[in-house]
Amino acid sequence: MTKTAPIHPQTIVLVEDEKELANEIKIELERLGYLVRMASIAEAADAARVGDAAMMIMDRMVFGEDSLETLEVLRKQGVKVPVLMISALSSIDERVRGLKAGGDDYLSKPFAMVELAARIEALLRRLDDVRTTKLQAGDLEMDLIEQTVHRGSARIDLLPREFKLLEYFLRHPGQVITRAMLLQDVWHYHFSLETNVVDVHISNLRKKIDVRGGASLILNIRGAGFMLNADA
């Protein structure tokens, strides 16, 4: 995966007490063009309060301390910085607790770096404007009110779930989208799958929205997932 570094690199504050894992995350994120600052829970909270962090990655347990409490306090103080929780606690209950306390996303260890990178990108480029009524990519247009999709002048009929799937891609243009993200956000399934069901759904969607002979609107990103090809 190649990616050009943004002109103004964004600072990610990383709270993780497993040294080697923290180092790997730092190297990978710096390779992707982010500035990474390792911090304790207290330092991270300070950085968030003064607006020094574009986002934070927080382990649930750091040196035996539960970072959820700090996060809850931050949220009560009105600090809105996006927070990605990572944790060795994998149960659904723990995930729900993490999100309730103010986490924006939750990743259980072990996770792949591409998964982490994709989640970070999604959080950093999250569109806060939910009032959008029209989404676009190239000559494909989605009307959220009419629930219709057109490619050029041709109307495309999609099943409700296919519509949601496409909407998710249109809302995250140019971002790597992993299968786990689609399962979680489009189907609301919170478990991992051993089959390639998601790929089949994507290929069915492609058949409907792609123009014969043209480049596909949804690209496969090897070893990671998919990406909306906004230039198609």
């Binding site: 149960s91 659904i92 209950d93 072990p110 792949a112 399934y189 070893g223």
Partner: protein, 449 residues
């Protein structure tokens, strides 16, 4: 010995002895005091009666009467005397007037000299009364007899109590020793079991007393622990194997890649290694998941969920995959089938069943999903007409990491059915396999309602 004394059986025996002693002494005491009180009451009545009758006798009559009384002891008078107004003895068998009111009522005097006596002092009851001529008449009765009676009671108590106490002690000690011998045996056995003799069991005799009952329970617990130990050993062997295999492959691949001069080959090898590591991580995630469902606290998210809706949703999710493999899918759903449960977990369980069915069904096959209420019990069935499960393997498919001989080529962690079974169990559902002639039926049915 100290341990023996500290044992609860000994404490019970000693307590029993103490209680017996207290009760017996109390009864003896009560009898003694009752008799003593009755005796004194009658003595007092007699004395006061005598005094009242004699008050108007002349001095000479009195002197005569006293002699008769004292010598013939008709009404058991021990003391009789007349004192002058100056409180000097005029006649009688007591030298000094005791310090009691001169009111014709009986009074207790703790020590007064024994008549005709050798200076012994004994308790007695006296009545003193001033006569019309100013002289003072004194009548009295010794309490020596009451004292003698008390001594008899005490010695009876002593001689009776001692053998009884010995008997109680003996019985208590016998039971205590017996119980402590059994407890010692149990203690020793448990110590040996803890040292590793897991096949040992506590002795259980034919008597159905409390110790036998507890021993039996402990034995059952040990059986269960043994079963789990064997199971855990099997599981950890499987875990080791399932993680070692991909790691060994990764190791070999990376070695090969490092030795290759070709940069492109190294990249290809690294990619393959990553895929293997991903597989290992999937296995670990599934294991954690399983532990979470099986041993974690019961989910706090139990509420009313609709199995029909969950299955319909999953059906829609899986249908494109089936179609891509030329497998037909069919859905039979009655009206909403509501249960109390965790929607996320139930979705995961049914997802595993449908995913499995599609995995093990060849092209042209059919996978049917149904949700029904049968006898008021919710039932989810996933049937396929695929390769099915060999009879010999049917009771093993729910074990962790078990993969059927024919399923070995199909990718997966081998934990899907274990997780589904654990989730079913958490919801008071049973997950069962049935033959579909050909193919498999997995039936998840509620246990009660």
């Amino acid at each position: 010995m100290l341990e023996f004394l500290r044992s609860s059986a000994v404490r019970v025996a000693v307590g029993f002895v103490v209680a017996t002693t207290v009760a017996t002494t109390a009864i003896f005491g009560l009898v003694y005091f009752q008799i003593k009180a009755a005796d004194q009451r009658s003595n007092r009545v007699i004395l006061e009666d005598e005094a009242a009758k004699s008050i108007n006798h002349s001095v000479d009559e009195l002197r005569y009467a006293f002699e008769v009384r004292l010598t013939h002891d008709l009404r058991r008078l021990d003391y009789a005397a007349l004192f002058g107004a100056d409180r000097k003895l005029m006649f009688g068998n007591i030298d000094e007037l005791p310090a009691i009111p001169l009111d014709g009522k009986s009074h207790f005097v703790a020590a007064s000299p024994v008549p005709g006596g050798d200076n012994r002092m004994e308790p007695a009851i006296f009545v003193a009364q001033t006569r019309p001529d100013g002289s003072i008449m004194l009548l009295g009765r010794s309490l020596l007899e009451t004292l003698a009676f008390r001594r008899i009671v005490q010695s009876a108590l002593a001689t009776g109590l001692a053998p009884m106490l010995l008997l109680a002690l003996a019985i208590g000690a016998f039971f205590a020793r017996r119980a402590s011998r059994r407890l010692t045996t149990i203690h020793d056995t448990i110590a040996r079991i803890m040292k590793g003799d897991m096949h040992l069991r506590l002795p259980v005799r034919s008597q159905h007393d409390a110790i036998d009952k507890i021993s039996r329970d402990v034995n059952l617990m040990l059986d269960e622990i043994m079963r789990l130990l064997v199971q855990i050993k099997g599981v950890s062997d499987n875990i080791a194997h399932d993680l070692r295999s991909p790691l060994a492959v990764v190791h070999a691949q990376l070695e090969r890649g490092l030795e290759s001069p070709d940069n492109e080959e190294l990249r290809g090898v690294a990619r393959q290694a990553l895929a293997h590591i991903d597989k290992a991580m999937l296995t670990i995630a599934a294991l954690l998941r399983l532990a979470d469902v099986e041993y974690g606290p019961k989910s706090s998210k139990f509420h009313t969920i609709d199995l029909s809706a969950i299955c319909a949703d999953l059906f829609e999710f899986y249908e494109p995959l089936a179609t891509s493999k030329s497998i037909q899918m069919a859905l039979e759903i009655q009206s909403p089938v509501q249960i109390l449960g965790d929607g996320d977990l139930m979705r995961e369980a049914v997802s595993n069943l449908i995913g499995n069915a599609i995995k093990f069904t060849p092209e042209g096959g059919t996978v049917r999903v149904s949700v029904t209420q049968e006898d008021g019990k919710p039932v989810v069935r996933v049937r396929d007409n695929g390769i099915g499960v060999e009879p010999a393997e049917r009771d093993k498919i729910f074990q962790r990491f078990y993969r059927t001989a024919s399923g070995h080529r199909v990718p997966g962690s081998g934990l899907g059915l274990s997780i589904a079974a654990a989730i079913a169990n958490l919801h008071d559902f049973d997950l069962r396999f049935d033959d579909n002639h050909p193919g498999a039926v997995f039936e998840m049915a509620g246990r009660r309602k």
